[in-house]
Symmetry: C7
Subunit: 241 residues, 7 copies
């Protein structure tokens, strides 16, 4: 009811406007875009960090291998996103450049938090300046720092949180429940992958198959972003079914 009133009064027509109860409605709408995006899971494991996503493609003529849903930002950092994927690409490309510049300038790899803050800075600007809309995308950033694996989520507001395990997109509610029950920080990358695939197939149900899966991990030992092959994913999918 109150929300209907806000709409009638037009408080949700510009990002440079607070509603009388102190909300930024355009930013809240952008978050809804994320909720309708394809599902993405991040997980810190005992031996590294893991990203698993649903590509959500059904057209058999699409080259599914080429779908960009998990992006490499630096040798030791990867990311995935849920929401408007072209928005994600803008942020990811900026982060890649930022990581390269850091490597060149300081002769050492960038830390994961700096990448996250860089993404959030631009996101915040787009919630405050007229003539732009907020980015309609949440991004999971995963990487290995000297202290170990790290996993962050950034939302359309430009806020970020560090997680042990997190899920965004349409499957969020169902999978979050599964993670709360089954995730433990001592889980290995192998078992983590099974947990993620199992969760995705449970929530997405019969719409789900190996074609739609995308996954990558970064081991704490090697610090190398590594895509998981379709074959491996098919194996995992067989095991969990």
């Amino acid at each position: 009811m109150e929300s209907m009133n806000h709409q009638m009064m037009g408080y949700d027509r510009a990002i440079t406007m607070f509603s009388p109860d102190g909300r930024l409605l355009q930013v809240e709408y952008a978050k809804k875009t994320v909720k309708q995006g394809s599902t993405a899971i991040g997980m810190v494991c005992s031996d590294g960090v893991l990203l698993v996503t649903d590509k959500r493609i059904v057209d058999p003529l699409v080259v599914t291998e080429a779908i960009e849903k998990i992006f490499q930002i630096d040798e030791h950092i990867g990311a995935t996103a849920s929401g408007i994927i072209s928005d994600a690409r803008v942020l990811i490309e900026r982060a890649q450049v930022k990581a390269q510049q850091h490597q060149v300038t300081y002769d050492s790899p960038i830390d994961v938090l700096s990448v996250v803050k860089n993404i959030c800075d631009l996101k915040q600007i787009c919630t405050q300046s007229g003539g732009l809309r907020p980015f309609g995308v949440s991004i999971l950033v995963a990487g290995i720092d000297p202290e170990g694996p790290k996993l962050f989520e950034t939302d359309p507001t430009g806020i970020f949180f560090q997680y042990n395990a997190v899920v965004i997109g349409e499957g969020e509610e169902g999978i979050e429940e599964i993670l709360h029950k089954k995730y433990k920080p001592t889980i290995s990358l192998d078992d983590g992958l099974k947990l993620c695939v199992d969760a995705l197939s449970t929530v997405l149900d019969d719409k789900f198959n190996a074609e739609r899966l995308d996954a990558a991990y970064i081991k704490t030992s090697s610090k190398k972003f590594t895509k998981i092959s379709k074959k491996e994913l098919e194996n995992v999918l067989k095991q969990v079914k």
Copy 2:
């Protein structure tokens, strides 16, 4: 009903605005422009990649040979478009310059994906910045990379997908069905051309004739963008009828 409400409330009057359910309506309207555009087909074949389009011109005084519907971006890359053709030209000309710059800077041909991303970057900006409208055009980009032939579609949002075969524009629904049934990755350029022409003539029916056809291919062996002559197209058209 909900859509009607969105219109009454004005959520579809600016690209810098999300609707309460997290949609960018102006971008969705731009996609409708594409759906009404002339039909264009792209196809990856065993020996190269193929673009076939309907010029959709009926005035006999127009110099049909001169109609720009298939554009060369670089020696090994071509493109076609559906929607607002003057919008397409802006994007294609930028891509041509980008390809030349790459050749000069790196002394090697640009890869197809870089061209696609360049187009999508500008498209994304036009969905986020006030004072501009989204590009009302989808573009098919086809080319040969060291790994072989590649085919991409970019939509008004700035999202892209890699395809084995794809169709855009007014004939989309009918021809997609045909492609799903008859397309195989092992198809040759010759048979691919017949399939495309057959599909176009089936869907566009009696409005269709050889004058309206435009086609080009890039062979994996030669890596040279080559226009198919009117004569060849007439021959193919006879065969499929």
Copy 3:
């Protein structure tokens, strides 16, 4: 009915806005301006290319010889326009500068298509950027290239087509019909002029006289833009009546 709805909803109040069915209404309105403009005909002949226009002036105190309706862009290129003539002047003057720059930079005359694309680039920008309106004018560009005579039409969208013969402005419908019946690519400049004058006098009827006529040709042999004198026009007019 649907159109009325679009107006009620305001989709036609800004160029940076698509209507729900994917149209740019402000650009469509600009095209109506052209339809109400004075009539202009272009024609490719066996020995050159021809432009004939109605000056549409009735005040006897106007110096009709001085009315600018056919413009020289370069020695070998001319143009005429229908719609808002002050808009045309802006585009023509830019084209003249562009042609001069080309001559100076490359020491060779500019080709007709480059002039046309230059005009269309600016026209496209004015259909996409807020704070500007579309150009309310269509321009016919005629010239001689190494391959022979060429004739183009550019519309307010920034789209162009190459024609053998074309007419724009208020007499468009009537004269198009005549051109479809009587025009042949083998026609000579002399006969082409008669055809154009005849068509104009038929459609504009008794409002028409020699004072209102303006015409120019560029011969393939000489490649020189040449205005046709009032005397010659009067002679032709006598012959066709």
Copy 4:
């Protein structure tokens, strides 16, 4: 009725907007401003060119001699205006600077048409760019070129016409009729002045007197802009009454 509809729909609230029937209503309103302006006449005579205007001042405390209604642009070029006089001043001052620059750069006097085009360029921009309004003034430019005397009118659209004789402002309709009847290109400056003063006094009637008259001529022989003294004007007024 239709016009009322356009107003209800707001098509006349911004210059960057076409109405559904392809009109620029703000520019049309600006032309109404001109129609309400003080009357100004231009006339090409056998021995030069003439400008005569009504100062339209009735307050006896105003220094009528000082009212700027006829402006000198260069030694051989003058101008007068009808509509918003402060708008006219902006355009006239730009033209004066342009004329000086031409003299300095090319060491020869500027031709009248260049001055006219310069004025029209700025006028056109103000009909196309948001955040500006059209100039609410028409300007008559009169001067002597190597080929003889020339007279132009520029309207708020940025369109110009060359005239033998022309009138703008509130007395336009009445005086145009008189000019059509009595003007001949063979008229001398002396007789032209009488004709103009007679026409003004007929149309403006009893509101008219010598105080309100302003006039200037440029002889073809001397090419010098010359103001006509109050005494001469009084004499002429006596003769025509």
Copy 5:
């Protein structure tokens, strides 16, 4: 009635907008501000030029001597204003700088008309550019040129007139009548001052006293801007009462 309609339709909400009858309503409203301003009189006398104003201050704690209502622009030029006084200050300060620059550049004093045009140039811009409002002030500029004393009024439109005697502000109507009856160009500065003070005291009536008076003159002989002391003003006031 018509005016009410204009308001309903919003033609008076922006300076960059003409009403359907060709008026700039925002500029007309700015003129109303002037009509409500404090009264100011300018007068050309036989031996110089005079400015007399009502300070319109009633608070006894204000330092009336310090109220800036008559401003010195250069040694030989003064000004006064009616309307928004902070607007006046902006224009006057620009004029002071302009006068200094002229003196330095040409080593001779600026003429009065140049000062007036400089003020009007800025005023005109503010009636044409969006994002600014018109200046809500009329300014009287008085000074001595080689040809003698001069007096100008500039209004919010950026139009100016030269006057022998003029009044602006709330007392305009009453005092104009007095000036028409009693002013003669042969009047001396002494008698002119009496006439002005008498006129002010008649119109402003019992609200008026010596405290509120401000006056300055510039003699043709000395060409020096000179403020008239409170004592002198009290004497004059006694004489006229």
Copy 6:
């Protein structure tokens, strides 16, 4: 009633807009902000100039000594404000920089009027330019010039007046009456302080106590801005009660 109409019509929604009766409503609203601000008094005394303000703080955890209500602009100039205090800070900081620049450039202290004009210039701009709001603050500036103590008030319009004694803010009406009755220019700083404190305690009544008082003076002899200690203020408060 008329005011209600103006609101319905939207004349009060932008500073770049006059109402039909020539008012700038946004500036008038800004003045209301000042009327609701905390009370501030300025007073010229026989031996210097005085500023006394109400800090209007009731939270006992606030460090009242640190509340900035009286600002030092230069050694010999101070200021206080009523309205939006963060607006005041912007203007005061600019004035401090301006004063320093003057000292450095001319090797002499700035005069009080120059500081006042500097503040008013920025205030005026903010009443004329779109995209900014007027400053919602009035500022009292007090200082010693070679001619003696001076006191000015600047309002949101950018207008200033010189006063012998002045009060702004919520207590304005009550205290103005007291000043009119009891203030004399021969009053000493000591007696002036008592008068101000007495006036504040009378008007603010039981909400008032020594904690809330802030005061500073600049003696004509020393020309040094000096804050009055809490102890002194408590003593004065005891005397007046």
Copy 7:
């Protein structure tokens, strides 16, 4: 009721607009955002200054240690915030840069007030310039100056106050009451921490636990910003329960 009217009239739709009663409604709405933010307490103690906040996180998968709610600005200065945390980050990062620049430029640590003013300058701009919204965050800044510990609050208006003890966010009303009763300037950091934790746990009640607590102090002796460990916080929490 009056507030409802303001909303109907749209006075709360832009920061560059005053309501008729002189309020900036968008800034007031921004303050509501702060009131709904997580609770943060600042306290000046006898031996230093203390910041204690509620992290307000309930998801057990979040890495609570990593939540940024207390920020270090310089070695001797810290800050915390309530409201939109991404807004806070923008302001804090600017302050960190400002502090570093000061250290480098003057070779001495920045004082706390300079940091506060820097934050408030940007906040004020965002309440006055169109196209930006106010910052929706209040920030507590705590640090040690040569004179001892200092604590400031800055609100969305850009106003700041110095406090001995202060609380912002959702628990404000309850905790303020507790601070008024129990806080004394002689309290030690140890006892202060207990008071803060006790107050938080009382107000937030059973939703509260050690995980959610974050705290830091800066001792007057060492002048070093120091985070309080989770262990210490758990101990304190046990003591107060």
